[in-house]
């Protein structure tokens, strides 16, 4: 859905009008928490976030002069994460994730689906509470694994911010637009009319059931006041750029969903032209990994982090993950360093890994092996989830 200039102006005027109405409050309550998971399929090189581990060996071009000590034991690569800004870097922590997996598909699936087949993001979204109109949204085309709904908590696969804006009540209306009360009653009728088909196709039509339930929840919530033209501009987009693709469009849409109070948002994809996805083999200098991060992710990520870390009334936690980091020769390592940013987090490194050759070693955290489940446990703890479905969080930054 592309928005015309006229529609955008009317949207902005409607927003200005809404701000003058007493009680026309933002839908998101105070300190609404959203966890944003940024996933790089192919791998997440730890030279960005934990450059110091490579300096003594001189791997990937890491030296004392191109790394930046940001305090709290965090030393980042100057040309990539080092450009995120002091305020953002002070709220960054690194989690060691020792999963022992060196195969791409298995690593991607294991990061997102637990050993019993339950979706990690959906478990987290459910633990964060049921008040959100949209519990979990996927903006990427690269989510691995099957994410079976948990109760009524499902993943909404989104491809167009315009459709999101319309469903959230942000888009301008005209005589051919249904009003929200009529639409909500109508879609409830649609759901009842759909019941026989949905009952007979519980798995193949689970996204239809989740979509109808989700839109009814969204229409039952107050319209969200979002200045979409301003959000788009912050990411270098025109307001009509609503189809999701690269990281700029995904992070702009993620910001919409943050303001709408979404619990979990999944972002990801891409990869530098010098490699297949983020699988930067033979990149002994680290230049391919650096150029990919700079050219593809870093600009929108920097914008998103700086805006959401300073967003009043919101606790936005952003984590960046990938299959694994790189061992000697830029081969697959069996572990990962996931970086997390949040306005209430303390900086630091936990479960740091040590490159030792073709494989790596790790530093235990509170006597535990820090694994994938512990990463999700940390995110649940940082999100202040009512219960932590992933067990005790060993990482000490909350």
């Amino acid at each position: 859905m592309r928005l015309s200039r006229r529609q955008i102006m009317r949207s902005a005027l409607g927003l200005a009008g809404a701000s003058l109405v007493p009680g026309a409050a933002l839908a998101a309550p105070a300190d609404k928490t959203t966890v944003v998971v940024v996933n790089l399929p192919g791998g997440l090189h730890s030279l960005y976030a934990q450059a110091d581990s490579f300096v003594s060996k001189g791997w990937y071009g890491c030296t004392g002069s191109n790394t930046l000590d940001v305090g709290n034991g965090v030393v980042v690569d100057s040309s990539t994460f080092g450009t995120l800004g002091a305020a953002t870097l002070s709220r960054m922590c690194n989690l060691g994730v020792w999963h022992g997996i060196t195969a791409h598909d298995l690593a991607q699936t294991s990061l997102m689906v637990d050993p019993t087949g339950q979706s990690y993001p959906l478990q987290l979204a459910r633990a964060m509470g049921s008040g959100a109109a949209v519990a979990c949204a996927n903006l990427s085309d690269t989510l691995a694994g099957r994410h079976k709904p948990i109760g009524t908590t499902n993943i909404s696969k989104l491809a167009d911010s315009g459709a999101v804006l319309a469903a959230l009540g942000v888009s301008p209306s005209d005589e051919f637009t249904p009003d929200r009360a009529g639409a909500m009653a109508g879609l409830k009728a649609s759901l009842r009319m759909s019941a026989p088909l949905l009952a007979k196709n519980q798995r193949s039509l689970e996204s239809v059931q989740g979509g109808l339930n989700g839109v009814i929840r969204a229409l039952n919530s107050p319209p969200v006041a979002i200045d979409w033209p301003a959000v788009a501009a912050a990411y270098g987009l025109s307001p009509g750029d609503t189809l999701l693709g690269g990281f700029a469009t995904q992070f702009a849409a993620a910001e919409l969903l943050v303001q709408a109070g979404t619990n979990v948002v999944l972002v990801g994809g891409g990869g530098p032209s010098c490699s297949l996805g983020w699988d930067t083999h033979s990149d002994n200098s680290g230049e391919c990994a650096r150029s990919g991060m700079v050219d593809i992710v870093l600009g929108p990520l920097r914008t998103f982090l700086s805006r959401t870390l300073a967003m009043p009334g919101h606790n936005v936690i952003t984590v960046i993950t990938g299959d694994f980091t790189r061992a000697y020769g830029s081969e697959h390592a069996g572990n990962l360093v996931a970086s997390v940013w949040g306005p209430k987090l303390r900086g630091g490194t936990s479960g740091a890994f040590t490159p030792t050759g073709a494989y790596s070693s790790y530093v235990p955290v509170n006597g535990q092996t820090p694994g994938i489940k512990q990463m999700w446990s940390f995110l649940a703890a940082a999100a202040g989830a009512e219960s932590n479905p992933f067990g005790e969080n060993p990482h000490p930054f909350v």
């Binding site: 859905m1 592309r2 020792w98 999963h99 022992g100 997996i101 598909d105 298995l106 699936t109 294991s110 050993p115 087949g117 949204a137 909404s156 696969k157 989104l158 491809a159 167009d160 315009g162 459709a163 319309a166 469903a167 051919f176 249904p178 009529g182 639409a183 009653a185 109508g186 879609l187 009728a189 649609s190 009842r192 009319m193 759909s194 019941a195 026989p196 088909l197 007979k200 196709n201 798995r203 193949s204 039509l205 996204s207 239809v208 989740g210 979509g211 109808l212 339930n213 989700g214 839109v215 929840r217 189809l243 069996g334 030792t356 050759g357 073709a358 494989y359 070693s361 790790y362 694994g371």
Partner: protein
């Protein structure tokens, strides 16, 4: 135990169980198993192999990394889970041609609903946003048709000149189903449509808009969204 039973037992063991983390096997600078407790950590529990047609024993397949290639398979009953979500190109055809003659189903709409690239097929998925967009497009298309009696085609009935009644709603819901779903509604599907047509009278005063809401609800249903 007979050799045959022992062999069958081994084969079955190979088809189910637990994949362990890979152990480093290269000496030297590597973290050895003794220093790494995670090497004994199970990372994936394989489900029992899925069987076909009620057979008691199924067969499981593993990838090069030891992952279960059939982990997502579920035993399904006959005739279950055959329906699929229409993708963007199909919905565009439905809206633009056969049903509602909507001119504003754009290329980006089609992409928003998912369009399968050439030589590949990724099943389309619905979401809260696409559900709303289909409903809103349905409302727009229906209202544009019903605002002018000369344009009552494809619905073609003077019922739209006045508010829905039980009789007219029964007649028109069925007709809308035939046009947009390509089939008759079942009694279980028809009843909520008629109920909503009666409910909408209290939500909207203008008859044509009342009918447009009913029409949009039919468009927003699984009968239209799936094939």
């Amino acid at each position: 135990m007979s050799p045959l039973r022992a062999t069958l037992g081994l084969l079955l063991c190979a088809c189910s169980g637990t994949i362990m983390s890979p152990s480093p096997s290269v000496p030297g600078e590597l973290a050895g198993p003794g220093s790494d407790p995670s090497l004994d950590t199970p990372i994936i529990h394989l489900p029992a192999a899925v069987a076909c047609n009620g057979a008691s024993v199924g067969r499981s397949y593993h990838g090069f990394a030891g992952e279960t290639l059939d982990a997502n398979r579920l035993p399904l009953g006959g005739g279950q889970d055959l329906a699929r979500v229409r993708d963007g190109s199909d919905l565009g055809t439905q809206f633009g041609g056969r049903s509602l003659d909507l001119a504003n189903v754009t290329r980006s709409d089609a992409q928003a609903f998912g369009v399968a690239p050439s030589n590949w097929y990724e099943p389309a998925e619905a979401s809260f946003a696409t559900a709303y967009r289909v409903y809103a497009l349905g409302f727009e298309g229906c209202l544009k048709k019903l605002k002018n009696p000369a344009n009552y085609h494809p619905f073609g009935h003077a019922d739209f000149a006045s508010a829905p009644t039980t009789e007219s709603a029964t007649r028109q819901c069925q007709k809308m189903g035939q046009i947009m779903w390509w089939r008759d509604m079942t009694p279980e599907e028809l009843a909520p449509c008629v109920e909503y047509a009666e409910e909408v009278r209290s939500l909207e005063p203008v008859p044509q808009r009342q009918w447009a809401y009913v029409c949009a609800a039919v468009a927003g249903s699984a009968g239209f969204l799936v094939y």
